[in-house]
Point group: D2
Chain length 377, copies 4
Amino acid sequence: MPLESEVADALARFRIAIPSWGFSPMGTRFATFLLGDEAKDVYGRIDCAAAVHQATGITPGLALHLPWDRVEDMGALRRYIQDRGLYVEAINPNTFQDPIYRLGSVAHRDPAVRARAAEHLLWCVEVQHELAAPYLSLWFADGTNYPGQADFRRRHTHLVECLAPVHAALRAGETMLVEYKPFEPAFYHTDVADWGTALRICQQLGDRSKVIVDLGHHFQGQNVEFTVALLQQAQRLGGFHLNNRKYADDDLMTGSIDPYGLFLIFRELVKGQRRYGAPVESVSYCLDQSANIEAKIPAMILSVVQTQEAFAKALLVDEAELERAEAEGDVIAAQQALREAFLTDVRPMLAEFRRSRGVPEDPLAHYRLQASAAGRR
Amino acid sequence: MPLESEVADALARFRIAIPSWGFSPMGTRFATFLLGDEAKDVYGRIDCAAAVHQATGITPGLALHLPWDRVEDMGALRRYIQDRGLYVEAINPNTFQDPIYRLGSVAHRDPAVRARAAEHLLWCVEVQHELAAPYLSLWFADGTNYPGQADFRRRHTHLVECLAPVHAALRAGETMLVEYKPFEPAFYHTDVADWGTALRICQQLGDRSKVIVDLGHHFQGQNVEFTVALLQQAQRLGGFHLNNRKYADDDLMTGSIDPYGLFLIFRELVKGQRRYGAPVESVSYCLDQSANIEAKIPAMILSVVQTQEAFAKALLVDEAELERAEAEGDVIAAQQALREAFLTDVRPMLAEFRRSRGVPEDPLAHYRLQASAAGRR
Amino acid sequence: MPLESEVADALARFRIAIPSWGFSPMGTRFATFLLGDEAKDVYGRIDCAAAVHQATGITPGLALHLPWDRVEDMGALRRYIQDRGLYVEAINPNTFQDPIYRLGSVAHRDPAVRARAAEHLLWCVEVQHELAAPYLSLWFADGTNYPGQADFRRRHTHLVECLAPVHAALRAGETMLVEYKPFEPAFYHTDVADWGTALRICQQLGDRSKVIVDLGHHFQGQNVEFTVALLQQAQRLGGFHLNNRKYADDDLMTGSIDPYGLFLIFRELVKGQRRYGAPVESVSYCLDQSANIEAKIPAMILSVVQTQEAFAKALLVDEAELERAEAEGDVIAAQQALREAFLTDVRPMLAEFRRSRGVPEDPLAHYRLQASAAGRR
Amino acid sequence: MPLESEVADALARFRIAIPSWGFSPMGTRFATFLLGDEAKDVYGRIDCAAAVHQATGITPGLALHLPWDRVEDMGALRRYIQDRGLYVEAINPNTFQDPIYRLGSVAHRDPAVRARAAEHLLWCVEVQHELAAPYLSLWFADGTNYPGQADFRRRHTHLVECLAPVHAALRAGETMLVEYKPFEPAFYHTDVADWGTALRICQQLGDRSKVIVDLGHHFQGQNVEFTVALLQQAQRLGGFHLNNRKYADDDLMTGSIDPYGLFLIFRELVKGQRRYGAPVESVSYCLDQSANIEAKIPAMILSVVQTQEAFAKALLVDEAELERAEAEGDVIAAQQALREAFLTDVRPMLAEFRRSRGVPEDPLAHYRLQASAAGRR
């Protein structure tokens, strides 16, 4: 069993960013249901994120979405954020909603469309500088719906060329995150379909670009933790968009469908720290989920708690015993080493950790009580 | 080779219904792009469907969606439809958009919600009577997003109880179609998840209910044609929602991703006719696809043409040779028998068939020429 | 929280059968690796199963495979089994290895092949009588590899006709279990592809047939617990073949890849008992996994333990709170109710339960110590 | 429409290699059925491949498998091959059957095991030199079955280090092909799981290594042609293992399940040639399928024919029209351009091509007639 202090230190350094868009109305292509807990504007969204941080104590970072979170006076926005003890972790551009992006943005055939996308991205980098956000987090809806519709190679070249000046505009300490997704909203091909494509794009762009892993952007059965390990080994793991799914990119609460899978991902991260010198906190963690039917703030809090639990359990693995089992090819003992950690009830340990930091022992119960008293969800 | 007359007769009896909603703005949860070809109201949608029928000659049937296609004077609507040489094939209720349906409709825990859904369905049956539509086509978005959210069995019981009076309201010659779908918009479980569930519901309801197969509502790798055969053998195959997909329920143009798969489904239908006495035209065929980025009317025409081609090829299989190969367990010869039919270029045959019926030989070219002359897509 | 006595009683009634074939050499189509722990004959396999029972205390049942477990004197075999405190739970026929079954067995086109299969099955029923085994557990490899190879409907009819006399040969208290599997070893279609097909076969055969759910025989993403609930509601849930998988029918140790999924299945079973009067122990539980690289007995013990843990956690759910959350549509609270149970460390409770029954508190540690002392794995 | 001469030239340059192992007994983990057409030894397997070449005229290349195809006098083997008008295209090592490879080969934790694997691979390179084979085709079964069993990063490092001397041993004109596969026979992780991993390994090894795409080694829904395009753009597309599947790595006859998918892959290759200067014949094509229930030589011939048809259709696409449709974002016209080619019956064209080269017009019919006359399958 690792020293308690290692666990406490690791938990103390662990942060999860909260996406502002998570407090906007969310839905599927069939319907968007309002529960009345949607924030009215960016200030309301920041207040929601602040409530999550107040309950959990580990979510001071914000992911903003542009232009959704744009205001006239960005300086005032920054102060609003700082006044709540928060900071901006990531800027997320949007090149998928404007009508000109119907057939793509950075990979579009038309140079005018690409120029428009590049212009938006460069403006986002300026905002990033202004808000001192370490990450520019890029997801592109680019792709095609039918065979023959476009030339994959041409689009790939366009995409890399379009991102090159954006990458060049980044300053020291700033990182471009490139997200992959196999399908949706494009249904035949996606220009950044998988981690291999994202990695190649980063290799072509330069050292300030890394790959971000969205937990819902894989094929069924794909081994996500293996991808995490390989990306980290290639010095290109940039971070995570956390959520959970049963089928496709369902964007459910993190840890709600496959908590063991989440644990295994954190196992790789803890292994990266213990064996390979890559601190767990050296990459970015950000929730990215869609509360279609449930209350938004509680869904975020629960996701944070479940992620923290997965991390805590991953820290509890007896590394020496696991190394022994690995070395001896003792498959049963290795399984047993993971079991011991995963079966441990980490709630008392986390309650104590929270208490020691002046945070509610049970963040969700605390929030629900508060909300109930205030007549909110 | 079957007699040419059998092929010609079969093609002459084959009809595909056109969904009115296919001419409304369509999109994904990320964006809806307007191409300017969206119809303004139900009359515009009927005009669009009429254009498809004018080009193809085999799509006189309409699928209407309520309340989207509701007008004050339904009699006037019926005349408008008849004046264009069309008729109503199916009525499609909507119990998924109203805010009260956030947690379900016919399977909802709250009797008030179920009553509202039943009321809507019964009203749809009245419209069905009024418009002389043979099919009431039911798809439910009902399901849950998280484990523990609801009791599967209770919901199943509610669903069957809620549909019972609707089934009872059907008249002779009217059929209720029950559609299944494994996920989306519900992401943990769907109350009518698969054909087995749909079949059981029909068995509980009675003889006027059958299962409708949407080509995009299966798991990857699932053998759809096997399901078609089994449902027909169980006397419960009601019809098809035609489209194509590469990943999930992508709703792409029919035949655009896997034309051989479409051919194999029609092979089962032709087999059902030739060997088991179930006429191909005894079930309902209706397009159900979403033109997110392409022009809507051409997409419909192309889908009709590709479906017709698949059916024509399926008719060309040398049944005697295939039976021989089956009987002798000659796997290679069986494959060869299907190949011979599928590789045949049926375009000349279909052109002749269309010519003989006063329809443009090349429906898509005809429409695009017309549209181009008129300055439309 | 349910009364402790309910949990203790439920645990006391819970049994998992051990498959004799699990101690034979196992492999993939690429290789079979021997670890030296393979049993030499049926007596050795029974000894292995006895070792599992000795360690766990809840596996007195045996699943035998014929003809693999055939001996001249079946009476002697039965006494050998009884002498070890075991009994026979299920007889598993084999109609997939003989060369005549290349194109199928019970669904084969050739009546001579079907007759041979039927004869074998009827002999198995005789052995079942002789060994007093409650279950005849049927899995068929029947299917085709290529489109056109065979007529699905004809094969379905053959299959049902071939099983009818087998069903008729069953005595009161004996149940035929029909297993479904979507693919492998047949790669285009499988004659009993899914639970819907299996259910239909049972409906055609009669009341002594039920469906058995093998946890690895589903498509990716398919909601297994929903299927379990529906089958139980239809009075046709017969039992389980327990294992785990990440991709296809991987036959890994139960609970090793997705412990939460296993918990959710037991949740449905506990719900069936508490809300619908179907005792958890009224269906059959049998391991069915393939230890390709790990030691066989420890793999079985670990699977038993992990299944027992999943069941114990499922029993801990606060049903009243969950019912409340369901009734109020409180998605977050429902999630929380499941969490509370799943996060509980049930090892102390299970240790106490085992102690009270004179079984080693930690079955795996106990066995490994014993084996190590004896120089075995 | 491209000039006929381009099509004829392209067809004339196109070759598909035949795997010697395709004529050995083949099966699944459940059974291996002998049809009596299995070759007895490597000479028999070469005779079978020669029969395929005699029928098709485009399969002079052989893929050999070591040690299965090892003989004492490799010089005699080479002469035997040459005497039949054949040559060796690829050498395929085997590091998955020996008992020491239970937990891996080139990625195994134990240096002794890796040394044994490296020794075998280096010996294979010597044979490659001796038989003048351009390709060393590497597939590794390496992986793990359970979480925790091994350290992904350590294994990756071992694998690259183990292959480095093998890569260094290659001469000018020789290429190492690295194959990826997501699962089977390893069921939790595979060390070369996907094209991204294979590409990274090649980048680490050097310019004589490229990625080989086995058509069955992808997740359901994965866009294989996109991967082909990206690999070619990265100068790392090495070739193909041709087969088809409906579910996992089913190894069915090429073109038997999804002929349009095969066409789309060849579309990318033709596009690579026409637009990007990468000749179609610059990569390796080799069948890799398993005839579990059908006759082996006819299965090979049919696969060759179906691949040739897919290629011929891909050549028929009106590139100018497709480019126009792409440039204008005319999704419908692009679909139409592919349709026109795919719907064309290329059998007459291919018959003429074969006639002009002294090959039977219908290779399968020719072979079956011959075989029937000789009393063979």
